[in-house]
Symmetry: D2
Subunit: 398 residues, 4 copies
């Protein structure tokens, strides 16, 4: 097909040309005397990204899911109780993994479209006077519904109750796009991946582990080897990896971290908020459609799930957009299949790229007879962006 | 700046990733025994592109301008008379080059926004009973005003009069985008470049020379060496080049020609017409603005020059679009400086890429206080595209 | 440093430009309707590579080590007995992983430099009349010592004894370089990675699982999730993956498999043997040094470990080669640290690339005062290659 | 064919991966407000490369040959007398171009293998008491014979005689590899190209023009347009180009100039001398063959032409090397066809790359029955390099 594709699934995000080029390197010896320079620059950059000075960032050759498994198998004994909430496909998958790995999952079932239920976490933890709950799981950004949860509030609940459980956070689709604070929120394990805010291809699990989690891990009996934190931390300390790392991914990650530093993390969060604001204006003010996220407090700045009117099938919109307009929208997963389509707005994006997505989604909806006013989405986004102050990363150039 | 740039100058056009990758090759020996395979595939493909079986395609390491100089210095004696028309910056530059090289330019001054004046060509040629005019120049697509001229009509005039002059055509911004027919129109020299419909970077002049032109060139005394046709044709016949060619550009050109073949020339022309139709709908029906091209017969399918209302400066729109929205629009050149901005719509494009350009131009105009209705451009283009039949290159995929 | 590096560690191997270019693609939706084409081509190609019609190839986002963990955790119950042999760092690591994951490892300690001890496997299996041994592990190519083992012989022992254990083979540094036959040898799990014979960067674990292993896995209780075979096989059957795959690695793997098909597997094995022959001639006939591999039956065609005279430290040679000649040689690991350096000769290689490595290793040895005759290595390799018949992949071009 | 090619023609030279990546950029608007930054960095860097503070560097979209034509047509009137010497194919081509463009060439025929005949230049200029000679041409490095001439000596002759002719120097295969000094030698036009010491693909003519030459050009009547210096200088002064430039080539050139600066020009010249010394040792001390260059004073540090014994045909060696060993050697051109093969040793090279070329040339010679001692070339080069001090660009890394 002529022209380039418009990729608006919420991951993999668009890899900027600068990173693609940084990855197009010849292979090199990962045990050479100069290799540690690369490792150290990456680990230092990741600490800034996670906003930590104390915790250990680790990159696994894996998807983000691998980092979930690492969190569970390193820091918990077999059969331990874990408190989690389920309000979308990705928070569901973590619950499911816990069950499959033999943990005792205490799951707060929550309506899809809402965020992590802080009150109910409080109740559950308060009820756990014996401290049977060894880990608390929170999905920072539920990619399936476009919902961001208040991790800081969960931490406050835990601190208020003096509950000693570890706090595990899934920041797969928030890290590098939405503010995340490892140290301030006392997160014990943060789990993420390369293919979202870091603007890389998939294939690298990116995680960060607190000293408390590491020290807990020392005594944990769950069988593990590939995802063992200690192997990584021991090797990384010397600048190397316990097994052959991906040279292109490491150089890509280094470039990504440099780009994040150049734009500035706070500027990046502001840009994501600004761009998300335009998309939400298109959806709500332009198309008069609803978001899956039920309240503004939960609106995600990295992905929006848009509810089509009940008499239509969102899957048709997605298929039409893909086949006819070369536009990849995120599909509705599990409970919201057919009900929503999603626009990812994370990573290396600007207004006009989103205008293509908005215009394309609108055309696909019209083709499916969903009654939206032609041009309304673009007009609303345009008004939003023209009347909000421009984040540094999109600022006028000299 | 975050996100990718939206490049809508009418050249260089966007180089598709497939071509970029084809160009990222290690160097090789251009005198090797296997090199001729590459040369032959390219020359054969170019013949199909020019729609010729008899004429000789030649690629010079030069810009398209170099091919203009080649046409004049190979096929004409010093001081010969040349008939040309001037109705834009690029037709002007050819007239200017003729004068600087010492030819006797007979120029039909024509209003900018009109195409080559067929009637006046007829008059001039009819008046030339002595056949002093040795070459007739036509600019097929005037990039500065977005005007396409009727080359076939000029040829008919020449044939009707039995005038023996050579016919030189500037197809820099039409070749590969708008139908061009070397043999059917009996064009003697067609001049083009790599950075437009061929979707390559600039740096390769692409020309095609009829047998008649070559035979005339044998006897022509104008000094020339670098751009000598015979050197090229002699070397090319063996599969080589008279001087070191650009390996990446040759591989890029091979890939470009393969892509043109896969989509099919007629499909490509239809796609350009379809996409241009949407842009014109945005301009005329959406924004209620005028094109620089005065009549539909002259509307160019590769570039549109849009006239801003007289109280505004188009240069401000262009600068705003560039600095604020990362959108590169074509500037107004010479006579139309400040009066028009241009949207190139040639090469590797689809609807959503153009939607970005339309939305961006609209936002930039609004920022400059030009009173267009927000969303109107996208709405009009959307309606146009949704109600016209889709060309093969944008067709639904299986 | 000027000039390119000479990478001769036995993995990552040199990624050919053709694969690098295939990987430089824009991201795309891994859940799109056209994605399954890619998945299916890859899985089909992998079957040819593993020489299987029945078994299931699986690609994990992991290093090769991850595939080892997958083999153990999918197909065995916790605490099961495993028979293995240890004769180098990589066979050691598998034993170590088994112990860490809580299996009952029965290890045949074998001198480094020898291959898997067929007789002792026979004894151990014969003694296991209760069939307590549930899996037999063999390292097909021990990368640390340059030793290839006779997997077929181990299978014959098992069949002769009618022993029902599963046969697990580590083919990390042999697959695609040295003949491996999944079906003929009735291998139950073969474990490999992307960064050796497949000529890709690291980051993709490549494994193949027999029907028998899969059926055993159904009933196995060892906790697992990330590396679960069934998740993969179920998703792959529809053309998708259970989590976001690496788009560049998949396109790279597709290109790699196409290249393997074009050259032909048997031709590739012959080329590796031919190139390895030249390296061994340089070592033994040129430099008069010994290989770590004790007998020709064990000589590896993908890597040679070269023993320096006892009064010298191989680590100095490696460091000198790296710092002074931009040549990366493989280091001696564990028991053979300081005693050997290694030349990897697998993947995308030809004679002159190896000549650079041979000349460079020789210069580095001379700089370390190891008494080799200057030019002797190249002379011996040259004689070997000039007097052996040329494999198809290096054949004269038309 | 498996493995990468060994490219040792004296241009195009190997493009380093770093430059290839710098060239893999999306297109951009060459008339944008930020474009001049790129232009200015390049022009400033070129001044350092040419060792000039006063002269104007210009890059033409052309081969190096185009810059020759520019020199003649800008600075001379039609029919002017030019003094040149001919001692190889490339000095010949300049003479030939002068004749074809209608100049009055006074040619000092010189034996191939010698450099520019300083004494005879002296005689010719001394005899020209009327100053009919308007330009003196010198080929700094004759690529066909591997001969470097003494440009400074020619300048001294001109100054001693007070001869006002312009001095034109062909530095196509020396610039960036062998010391060249625009200002110190009072060169009026230096002509070069992208595909040699600058390590880029072909396609960009790189030239430098003195103030004297420019002022002469003002009054010169030779017809010219494409290669007009003034058009370029006027546009460049504002940061732009008179026609669409090649975006990838400009970014590649910028990266190349950065690499030259990082290594340091004098270090680069030292590296070329050091590497050339090893090649000459292989030829003379190893293989006992002669160079085409007759005296050490003329030995070129960028290319060596090697004379095969008279009973053999060098073309067979070249063909064998290419087809059998994937090694591209330079062919013998014109008078030395069949008599010599050439090894280019310019640009991004190190010892081991040259070891591949030396070993490959040796194998090809042996295959053609030329009696050289196996390993002798590598042994001699190895001894040379191990016993000469290492230039910075190849220095041990920290």
């Amino acid at each position: 097909m002529a022209g380039h594709n418009f990729l608006f699934v919420p991951g993999p995000s668009n890899v900027p040309n600068r990173i693609l080029r940084a990855m197009a390197v010849p292979m090199e010896d990962h045990r050479s005397v100069k290799f540690p320079e690369l490792t150290h620059e990456i680990l230092t950059g990741l600490k800034r990204l996670f906003k930590t000075t104390e915790a250990h960032p680790i990159v696994f050759p894996s998807s983000g899911t691998g980092c979930w498994e690492a969190a569970l198998t390193n820091c918990l004994n077999s059969g331990s109780r874990i408190l989690a909430s389920r309000f979308g496909q990705f928070s569901h998958l973590w619950c499911d993994m816990g069950q499959r790995l033999g943990f005792d999952m205490q799951i707060l079932e929550t309506e899809w479209g809402e965020g992590a239920p802080v009150e109910r976490y409080h109740e559950a933890l308060a009820a756990d006077s014996q401290h049977q709950i060894k880990a608390v799981l929170v999905c920072h950004n539920e990619t399936a519904t476009g919902v961001t949860s208040d991790v800081a509030a969960i931490r406050r609940v835990m601190n208020d109750l003096g509950h000693p459980a570890l706090l595990f956070v899934d920041a797969v689709s928030s890290l590098g796009s939405i503010d995340f604070r490892m140290d301030e929120w006392q997160v014990d394990v943060c789990v993420s991946g390369s293919q979202k805010g870091l603007m890389l291809p998939a294939g690298m699990g990116i995680t960060c582990v607190s000293k408390k989690a590491l020290s807990t891990a020392q005594a944990c009996s769950h069988p593990r080897c590939y995802f063992d934190y200690q192997d990584m931390i021991r090797s990384n300390a010397t600048g190397y990896f316990p097994y052959t790392p991906s040279i292109p991914m490491l150089y890509g990650l280094r470039e990504s971290l440099r780009m994040l530093d150049e734009e500035g993390l706070e500027n990046i969060f502001a840009r994501h908020q600004y761009l998300a604001g335009g998309v939400r204006a298109a959806v709500q003010e332009g198309w008069k459609l609803a978001l899956c996220a039920k309240e503004p407090q939960w609106y995600s700045d990295s992905v929006s799930a848009i509810v089509v009117p009940p008499e239509f099938n969102a899957a048709h919109v997605i298929e039409r957009a893909f086949r006819r307009y070369n536009l990849a929208l995120g599909t509705g997963l599990s409970k919201v299949a057919g009900k929503v389509f999603r626009i990812g707005h994370l990573g290396d994006l600007n207004e006009l790229m989103l205008m293509g997505a908005i215009a394309g989604a609108e055309m696909a909806m019209l083709d499916c007879n969903i009654p939206v006013i032609p041009g309304s989405g673009v007009a609303a986004a345009s008004a939003y962006w023209r009347h909000h102050s421009v984040p540094a990363g999109l600022e006028s150039r000299k």
